[in-house]
């Protein structure tokens, strides 16, 4: 009798999990990306095109599904770079959406698997990065608010966003964007 609550807890949890565990992760990531872009652009009619390069002299590796050009009604609205960074024990994926002037319009965490540091997925916290460009100076705990209990992931994403902006800068300088 005493063991019953425990068994109910476990079976409930597992059945709930099975109900929602079906779609593949990368499809989910793409759906989330589009949902955020729809919110930013105020319209679902945008086009998201993947950009890849054959021969390039970039100082970093660019994967096939990492960089996108976003256009709405034939004008380029901006670009998205999907980047991976490290949380406490597990990596996570986030996207930085910049306009054609390379100013951050939105940062959105696309996939955050572990429990530690998930506070960085908070939209309010991520709004701090809006408006930054490759020339901006920003540092965790200085002009970026600290998050108790999420030290590693918040420092990691701050550094990640800086790296993303430098990558955008380099892509523009080399005529890729």
């Amino acid at each position: 009798m005493r063991k019953l609550p425990g068994l109910i807890l476990i079976s409930l949890g597992l059945s709930l999990a099975c109900l929602s565990a079906n779609a593949s992760l990368s499809e989910k990531v793409q759906k989330r990306m589009d949902k955020e872009l729809k919110k930013q652009l105020g319209s679902a009619m945008f086009k998201r095109e993947s950009i890849t390069f054959e021969n390039n002299d970039l100082s970093f590796t660019l994967e096939n599904d990492q960089l996108y050009k976003i256009s709405l009604e034939k004008s380029v609205k901006g670009f998205v770079l999907v980047e991976e960074a490290m949380g406490r024990y597990h990596s996570f994926k986030f996207m930085v959406f910049v306009n054609s002037k390379l100013e951050v319009q939105a940062v959105y965490v696309l996939q955050y698997d572990e429990d530690y540091g998930s506070e960085i997925t908070s939209k309010k916290w991520l709004e701090q990065f809006k408006g930054f460009n490759p020339q901006s100076k920003f540092e965790y705990k200085q002009n970026i608010d600290a998050i108790s209990g999420a030290t590693i992931s918040s420092k990691s994403i701050t550094l990640g966003i800086k790296n993303v902006l430098q990558k955008f800068k380099e892509l523009r300088e080399k005529g890729c964007l």
Binding site: G13, A21, D115, W125
Partner: protein, 398 residues
């Protein structure tokens, strides 16, 4: 014991050499080891650690005391990512250089976006320090006393449960079924009016007479603020339930008297903005069956316990417009009583009512290294004056 040490050293050596092969370029920005390791997409191992090297010196009365110097703890953290959904995390601790413990060893299995399954040796989510006990994340050389006597940090048990988050709501949750604290072990009563700490089995051949429930909810929906509510419900464990003839009423009654019911609750809050931080925690517990337990064991377990602490701190470097460095001044007040109420027949002991004031500085010389120094004033209700102690320490987290 020696075999275990050799095997552990061999494991660490192997992991260290794997790390050396996996790590790529070094970055200009300081990163912790786990960030460096994972800079290639293929790396699945992360290694981290923390350490506290402390100096405690009582002073101020007519009695001279020696100072105590100790590598209080040296901890290694390993995590392995099997795939997108499953990882394993373990924390191995060396206390006072010679005692080895495993503080965490669990598998995390991602079921969906808002739910993970966790199984293994898990940290009990109660208060702030039990889960976040890296020495660079709290002020003061020593942990708050409450996170020692009231909440037996580092409190870990073997169990299974769920953890997860609802991002849009700003909520995190954890709920586990675990084996409980050891209240009675072959004639030895493990808990007393002084608290529950001796009841920890630390995952070393723990036994279970009945499962306990542990849960916590964290709310971080308001900027700069983190709130937590935790609970722990269950009965302490007892060896008298092993091989118990359920038809023998006298033995069943005795076994029942050898355990205490625990209903513990905690609230905690953390706020930080512009160099100023505040944290506080409050715990209250009600223990049942203590009169019977005390009669059987001769102990003085109270029927209620409570405690709280409040701390404020400020980064002094901000006064000098120097935002790069951190010199944090803090002050903390703690008040707790592990025996705030007793059932009839139990002797109340005022020595269990304690107050402590701590104030000092923490100088962060690099991300992950803090030099600390503070003064502590401690007294219990039976004493007239505060005992004074100076502490200094090095705290490291990588």
């Amino acid at each position: 014991m020696k075999t275990k040490m050799i095997l552990l050293a061999a494991l660490m050596f192997h992991l260290m050499t794997s790390y050396a092969q996996l790590s790529e370029k070094t970055e200009n920005e300081p990163q912790n080891t786990s960030m460096k390791l994972m800079s290639t997409n293929d790396s699945k191992i992360s290694i981290g650690g923390y350490a506290e090297i402390n100096y405690n010196q009582p002073f101020g009365n007519d009695i001279r005391s020696n100072g105590e110097l100790d590598v209080q703890r040296m901890v290694l953290l390993f995590a392995y990512q099997f795939n997108d959904r499953v990882d394993f995390v373990t924390e191995i601790e060396f206390e006072h250089v010679k005692e080895v413990f495993v503080e965490q060893a669990f598998i995390r299995y991602k079921l969906n976006e808002w739910m993970n399954l966790r199984a293994g040796l898990i940290l009990i989510p109660m208060g702030i320090i039990n889960e976040y006990h890296e020495p660079t994340t709290f002020n003061g050389v020593e942990r708050p006393l409450i996170a020692n006597t009231l909440i037996p940090t580092t409190w870990r048990e073997i169990g299974i449960g769920f953890s997860g988050k609802f991002n849009d709501l700003g909520l995190k949750y954890q709920v586990y079924l675990v084996n409980g604290l050891n209240g009675y072990d072959d004639g030895t009563a493990k808990i007393s009016g002084g608290g529950l700490r001796s009841g920890r089995k630390k995952g070393a051949e723990s036994f279970m007479s009945s499962p306990n429930l542990s849960f916590k909810i964290d709310y971080y929906g308001i900027s700069n603020l983190k709130l937590g509510f935790s609970g722990y419900l269950g009965k302490t464990q007892s060896t008298l339930f092993d091989g118990l003839d359920t038809n023998n009423d006298a033995l069943v009654m005795m076994a029942d008297s050898s355990r205490v019911g625990l209903n513990l609750f905690g609230i905690d809050a953390r706020y930080n903005k512009d160099g100023f931080a505040f944290r506080g925690a409050y715990f209250a517990g009600s223990l049942t069956n203590t009169a019977e337990y005390n009669e059987l064991t001769g102990k003085d377990v109270g029927s209620k316990l409570f405690g709280y602490y409040m701390e404020a701190s400020y980064n002094l470097m901000r006064l000098f417009e120097n935002k790069n460095e951190e010199l944090v001044f803090f002050a903390r007040y703690e008040n707790y009583n592990t025996q705030s109420a007793v059932e009839a027949g139990t002797v109340k002991n005022d020595a269990y009512a304690v107050k402590q004031i701590t104030t000092g500085l923490g100088y962060r010389i690099a991300n992950g290294v803090v030099l600390k120094a503070d003064l502590q004033f401690l007294k219990n209700k039976t004493q007239d004056s505060y005992a004074k102690q100076f502490n200094a320490g090095v705290a490291v987290w990588f």
